[in-house]
């Protein structure tokens, strides 16, 4: 069997954020994960772990895709947080061969992102590749695959307009906030809960000028910890309703199933702050804000689905560009597939045989109709057998080596060298 690419993972479409977070790899976990994977998974020959807030995927190369897929699933389930109980299996997807290459190329060119065209994913991929290379888990196939995927991302970025109006959920929210507020430097943000999305959005708002940030969490230690990370002031959870009147933007990312802020509460707060506009962003996977808040004058409430819908609208404008991008991905998948197939042994052996046989027949024909014209039929047959045996003997070494190889990187290198040296690749 020959090596192929295989991807097992989950993303923002296949799994809710809680599941994704339970599988995610932090910076140091990644190296350990790669080591563990190498130790535990016998079939997986090469591997790269990609872990962002929207996806966790293991990209691998293996000859035995069946076993490798199973091992990768086990590995992810093993790595998962202990407290998570929901079965992971239903959220996982698996791609093999050209489908896997296509998936990775689409991820790299941000066609698979929650917000199509956002540029962060490429950097995250490069980082994942770097860590894996340093851990020594990248071989010929993934090396080539990742270099191709960086190239595809670059092509998509330069040849289509997909990235030109890229928007992440955070930037959609900031964009909307700019429709409400003129400036951010005199505004106060309150972040309720420690979810990753909320933290990202708070950081994004700070980059846009917000100076005052209040942070609250169910546990006060959590709030203090979070506040120290994003330069905010921690507030006790039971006190946050009192401070609400100071907040112009309120981000809910508590992940709690409870409604933390309801409409009467906001009405009261609004009277206290003389009807100054408030923007509520409900970004967790559970609703933290009462939907009726949006019905109150001078108050605007957007939840994660609303933000996605806005991002989606931007996406629709780009559908023509997306088609162009898919075209590029398709071309590159085919080109990668051609390269990968060229590394397969059986066709290489056949091509080598064919090449030598061709040379032998041509030269034999030339001699037998030229200088050796006088030879008898018996002599001709003997000559034919002799040249045939010669070729066989000459090729025996390299071919048995190819057949016996476990197709590690060294073998792949030989295959590639053979094809190059003997010019075995069909001309395009």
């Amino acid at each position: 069997m020959d090596k192929q690419v295989i991807i097992v993972g989950l993303n923002h479409r296949s799994a809710p954020i809680a599941v994704r977070e339970s599988v995610a790899f932090d910076g140091t976990e990644m190296r350990r994960g790669l080591r563990e994977l190498r130790a535990a998974a016998a079939a997986v020959e090469e591997s790269v772990i990609l872990s962002t807030c929207n996806r966790v995927e293991v990209v691998a190369a293996a000859a035995d895709a069946e076993s490798a897929g199973r091992e990768l699933r086990e590995f992810l389930a093993e790595h998962r947080d202990r407290e998570a109980d929901e079965p992971l299996e239903q959220h996982l997807y698996e791609y093999r061969g050209p489908d896997a290459a296509r998936h990775l190329f689409r991820v790299a060119s941000s066609l698979d992102s929650m917000v199509v065209g956002e540029p962060q994913i490429l950097g995250q991929l490069k980082e994942a590749y770097r860590v894996a290379r340093e851990s020594g888990t990248v071989g010929t196939v993934l090396h080539r695959l990742f270099h191709r995927c960086f190239f595809v991302a670059k092509r998509v970025r330069t040849e289509t307009a997909i990235a030109s109006r890229a928007v992440s959920i955070s930037s959609v929210a900031v964009d909307l906030a700019k429709r409400i507020f003129d400036r951010f430097d005199d505004k106060t943000v309150m972040l309720i809960g420690a979810g990753k999305m909320g933290r990202l959005m708070a950081l994004h708002l700070q980059r846009h000028g917000v100076k005052s940030l209040m942070v609250t969490n169910r546990t006060f230690e959590g709030a203090v910890d979070l506040a120290s990370h994003i330069h905010g002031s921690p507030i006790r959870f039971e006190d946050f309703p009192q401070y609400l009147k100071l907040a112009d933007l309120v981000i809910g990312c508590a992940g709690a199933p409870a409604v933390l802020v309801d409409a009467p509460m906001v009405e009261k707060v609004l009277r206290e702050r003389k009807q100054q506009a408030m923007f509520f962003i409900d970004i967790g996977d559970r609703r933290n804000f009462d939907p009726r808040i949006n019905g109150i004058d001078n108050v605007y409430l957007y939840n994660i689905d609303d933000l996605k819908a806005v991002a989606e609208e931007n996406l629709q404008e780009r559908s023509a560009e997306a088609e162009k991008a898919e075209q590029i991905v398709q071309e590159e998948v085919e080109s990668f597939d051609r390269w990968l197939r060229s590394l397969e042994r059986a066709p290489t052996i056949a091509a080598l045989h064919h090449k030598f046989e061709q040379i032998r027949c041509r030269e034999l024909e030339k001699s037998l109709s030229g200088a050796l014209r006088e030879l008898s039929d018996r002599e001709r047959q003997a000559l034919d057998r002799m040249t045939s045996a010669m070729i066989k003997k000459m090729l025996h070494g390299p071919i048995s080596r190819l057949k016996a190889g476990r197709q590690d990187d060294e073998d792949l290198l030989y295959v590639a060298a053979l094809r190059r040296l003997f010019d075995l690749d069909p001309k395009e």
Binding site: L176, K178, I180, F181, D182, R273, A277, N298, E313
Partner: protein, 272 residues
Amino acid sequence: MEVILLKITAILYLVAAVSYVFYVAFRNANSRIPAVALGAGFTVHSAALAAHFLREGYPAVTQLSDALSFKSWLMIAAYLVIQLKYSVNVLGCIVTPLAFLMSLAGFAFGSQGAEVPPALKTFWLPLHVTLASLGNAVFALAFAVSLMYLAQERRLKHKKVTALMKRLPSLESLDRLNSVLLFWGFPFMTLGIITGSIWAGIHWGDYWSWDPRQITSGLAWLFYGALLHGRVTAGLRGRKAALLTVFGFVVVLGYFLWGDALFPSRHGGRFD
């Protein structure tokens, strides 16, 4: 001569109005064409008014058509000031069509209204008319700003994100602009009423004669005063403030156009 200039003005305002609408509707539309057309229209308009002033010795305000023209000129002037200070291009999209319609209405209404008796042609005439009209012009801008606020607010509430939203200023700045305009419009209106009352007192004998025009001006003054008071003290802002501004201006404009026909006033034609 003046009529020709006013016609040119109307055409230039139309060009400005159409190109402003284009500017707002299409992302790549040119923003200089409307500005140039509006500047040219305003210049020609000023020339027409100056010609009238030089010939008659008082501004062209005594007939309805003239008054409309004068008001639109003041409105554009106020807009240009606002534009220089706050740079709200989109406001032009409402102000220029309004100016065009006012000039069109000026031609349509023709020369209604009577000649001003010579006895009334004192410096109180331009003073009163300019102050009162300036108040109205500033309120017209507040009206336009409020319409923009309502449009922006509606889209945000209904989560319909459109290209128009990016063209409109933020709710905060529209609300602030509304406040600034009310703040400036109200003193002009007050001075307009005071000068009108003094002028009436000098020529008609009493400062306040419960004339329909005086009553409605008084009511409008109370309305805008309450609006301003609510803004300053009671946190009246946002959508409610915008709705009230629109309501106030529509009533004042309606009264200006048809009030004298409904409630005959010695102000509107019978200067007996």
